[in-house]
């Protein structure tokens, strides 16, 4: 306004008139520059941000597997317990970053009884773990433990990314099992649509057997490099944005929690890596209907339980076209796909998730959890 008035008001050139907006901007930038300097020093000596602080009890811990039960936050809970299955490559605290930014806390407050299968770095003895071990060993064992702990036979299974893929494979192999509802977030089915990963795992340029035989357990650095390859400049751009926003405590806190989560990406058992590379990336066997787990064919049309699939519109890891076939293929009568604006992580954690995904999940779950 002041600038417009100055422009209209007289014939003096802009250089000779003090521009209040410019003055204010300069003052703000100087203030931010000072704050950046002070807070930058603070940041150098700051401990890692606290994450995953919602109270919980460990029910099972063995090697790479951990099953936890979150303490209830309401006087009355829904009958059907909820078991979250995290992706093998990532820690589960992305769903429990901080109070107010935690899907787990939200679900507890909304009256759900929440359990989570979280993963630790696999030991050297676990280098040969395969999908079979997850869907025929770990998940059924954890469901039994949840049934025992909750006293309920039925369970809702909720899987995030590859955790959703494992949950889907489990359900296809155990269609008459105790799962009452299946919820998946950003779950890949048609791997031919993950073009970059597919190009990188092309057998003409990548000998997965040689690689796995040499490393045993695939190092976290390799997994991180694989994800970084999808957006190679984003890490550096993120660092520059962090510097730009150092004056903003909220930004820095959020950035550091996400950065910690990214840096704590887990190593992957070589057997699992070999199988996902050959069967899923190279042969696209889950989508083609040729995937065999423990000698049994994984047929998605065997799934008949109520299904909700939440897909991120701007997901660069699991693009929507890679995820759509899940709802198309299952035989459930009660099935729904929700595409929400957001990326692979921001769909589940962050301000947009709080506003969009969490309430949508709650309204779908509540009527199916009694």
């Amino acid at each position: 306004m002041a600038a417009t008035a100055a422009a209209k008001g007289n014939d003096k050139s802009a250089s000779t008139v003090a521009d209040p907006a410019l003055t204010e901007r300069l003052r703000l930038e100087v203030e931010r520059a000072v704050q950046r300097g002070l807070k930058g020093f603070e940041l150098l000596g700051a401990p890692p941000p606290a994450v995953g602080r919602t109270p919980k009890s460990v029910l099972l811990r063995r090697g790479t597997l951990e099953l936890v039960h979150y303490h209830a936050m309401s006087d009355e809970v829904y009958r059907v317990p909820l078991l979250i299955v995290m992706a093998v490559t990532n820690k589960g605290y992305i769903l429990d970053l901080a109070p107010g930014q935690s899907l787990v806390e939200f679900l507890l407050q909304r009256g759900y009884d929440v359990y989570m299968i979280d993963w630790h770095a696999p030991t050297d003895a676990e280098r040969d773990l395969k999908i079979e071990d997850y869907v025929q060993g770990f998940i059924p064992e954890c469901i039994r433990r949840v049934q025992q702990d909750s006293g309920e036979r039925e369970v809702t299974l909720l899987g995030y990314c590859a955790g959703g893929m494992l949950s889907t494979i489990y359900q296809a192999l155990h269609p008459k099992g105790p799962v009452k509802n299946l919820v998946c977030f950003t779950t890949p089915i048609d791997f031919s649509k993950m073009e970059i990963f597919r190009n990188m795992s092309d057998p003409k340029v990548f000998d997965v057997d040689k690689f796995v035989d040499s490393v045993g357990v695939v190092p976290a650095d390799t997994v991180i490099a694989g994800f970084d390859a999808l957006r190679p400049s984003s890490r550096l751009a993120g660092q520059i944005r962090l510097w730009d926003n150092l004056w903003n405590d909220q930004f820095v806190k959020g950035y550091r929690m996400m950065e910690r989560w990214g840096n704590e990406t887990l190593p992957v058992p070589g057997g699992y890596f070999r199988q996902t590379t050959k069967e899923l990336m190279q042969r696209n066997a889950l989508h083609e209907g040729t995937l065999r787990i423990g000698g049994r064919l994984v047929d998605l049309s065997k799934i008949t339980v109520p299904l909700l699939h939440v897909i991120a519109q701007y997901d660069h890891i699991v693009p929507p076209e890679c995820a759509h076939p899940l709802v198309e293929r299952v035989a459930s009568h009660d099935k729904q796909e929700i595409v929400l604006p957001g990326g692979h992580v921001s769909i589940a954690a962050g301000p947009n998730a709080v506003k969009r995904m969490w309430p949508a999940l709650d309204s779908w779950l509540e009527e199916r959890s009694t």
Binding site: S57, I240, S363
Partner: protein
């Protein structure tokens, strides 16, 4: 902030950063279409891994000479201790839950009683799957 006669150079710089990031990402991901580029990437990765293994081997040899345990051996020891602790935990009699368990009798609340976040949330772009009509599965590439 009031508008100014002058464009904000920092804002321009931020926009340029976002644009540059997008362009570099697109260029780099586009390069994965080329088998040669991907092969070079894998070669670089395996070379770096080879160097890392050599360094680890050299450090391991030094630690053996100095009669010190390596990080790997310490991790194995920690894992063994963890396994023993887990076995001891399993031998203990089951305890009553540390926190009281609420009744499992909750019923869904009406839409009018939904909490503020849900009530104020914008409607999601929901695409309910057709119940009778199924889309044909897209063909996989290659």
């Amino acid at each position: 902030m009031a508008s100014s006669l002058f464009p904000d150079p920092l804002q321009l710089w931020r926009e340029a950063l976002t644009k540059l990031e997008g362009e570099v990402n697109a260029l780099a991901t586009g390069s994965t279409q080329s088998q040669e580029a991907v092969r070079s990437l894998h070669q670089l990765s395996s070379a770096s891994q080879g160097v890392q293994q050599m360094v680890e081997k050299a450090i391991g040899a030094y630690l053996r000479r100095a009669n010190l345990p390596s990080r790997k051996e310490m991790m194995e020891l920690a894992q063994s201790l963890q396994r023993i602790e887990d076995k001891v935990d399993r031998l203990l009699p089951p305890q009553a839950p540390a926190v009281p368990r609420p009744a499992r009798t909750r019923r869904p609340s009406g839409a009018a009683q939904m909490p503020t976040p849900a009530a104020s949330a914008p409607p999601p772009i929901a695409t309910p799957a057709p119940r009778s009509k199924r889309r044909a599965a897209p063909r996989a590439k290659g």
